[in-house]
Assembly symmetry: C2
DNA sequence: GACGACGTTGACGTTAACGTAAAGTGGTTG
DNA sequence: CAACCACTTTACGTTAACGTCAACGTCGTC
């Protein structure tokens, strides 16, 4: 459904002549260093919807990009449910009503805020690490001088 | 044990005349918007070690700072076990041997790398959000013009 | 035609990080 | 003193995100 959506990947890949490359579940798994189980689980959770050729799943560029975005979201601490929410709204966008779109903007705002806080957290954490590291080096130095 | 350690908080709080303020578990919980249960759990996992006055826990500045760092670490996606590892090594630092200290520096390096990747992830994710948002606004605009 | 590599579904197991409920302790306040 | 509050321990429950295992189908090839 809604496969009429222009192209989820275009924001990243630009407008190269469509690559008709496809992937097996194993290939994707190796590419992103996850297990096939994980990929099937993501599908079950509504994050992926690969084509079926007979029994087996066939993944296109669109699916690969989705997986990439999903994993990136995960590294940033988003739950699969949150990620799915955004993906679903993105898919429904072209024929979405105003209320849905505003809700989407709302969600995006939350994500943004979240990331701003993460940036601040990282800044602070890096300072702490600097501090701990310099202390550790001091102690090491002292040990070296004494031990020698 | 190892309460002889100079002061865990000094890196942040500077060298103000020691604040002898203490906190109850409930106060801390409200301050950081977590439940007492969470704080007790962190203690059980070796992240906190509050004083005991009789039966009840008494938290000092040092504990508050630890909690703050713990929660920050969590927001950055570190597990409690990872956080504890760093805290333990920090505590053991003054009388730690060279091997331990080098291990600490190693861990700090990993954390740093992790955060570098997160920074990159955030940068990329922000671009995606920009993109999705501008598309959503376009559609909204179109709807508004048509609807009017 | 057996074998191995890869794919499939289904079901149960596991881990982290708490939530929640029960039952008791200790202080103070009307 | 009774009632209430905040705190305590113990223990079982819960959720997310997979892991693991069984049992089976489908190729290509030796």
């Amino acid at each position: 459904m809604s496969t009429s959506s222009p192209d989820v990947t275009s924001s990243v890949s630009g407008s190269l002549p469509r690559q008709r490359r496809t992937y097996s579940i194993g290939e994707l798994a190796r590419m992103f260093e996850v297990t096939p189980r994980t990929i099937r689980f993501y599908e079950q959770e509504g994050l992926l919807a690969p084509e079926r050729r007979g029994q087996t799943r066939v993944y296109h560029e669109k699916d690969r990009v989705r997986l990439k975005l999903t994993l990136r979201g995960k590294r940033l601490g988003f739950s699969l449910a949150e990620i799915r929410e955004v993906i679903e709204m993105y898919d429904a966008m072209p024929d979405g009503n105003a209320r849905q779109l505003k809700r989407l903007l709302e969600i995006l705002g939350e994500k943004r805020a979240n990331m701003e806080r993460q940036l601040e957290d990282i800044r602070l954490m890096q300072r702490e690490l600097d501090d701990v590291e310099s202390r550790a080096r001091e102690v090491l130095d002292r040990l070296a001088r004494q031990g020698a």
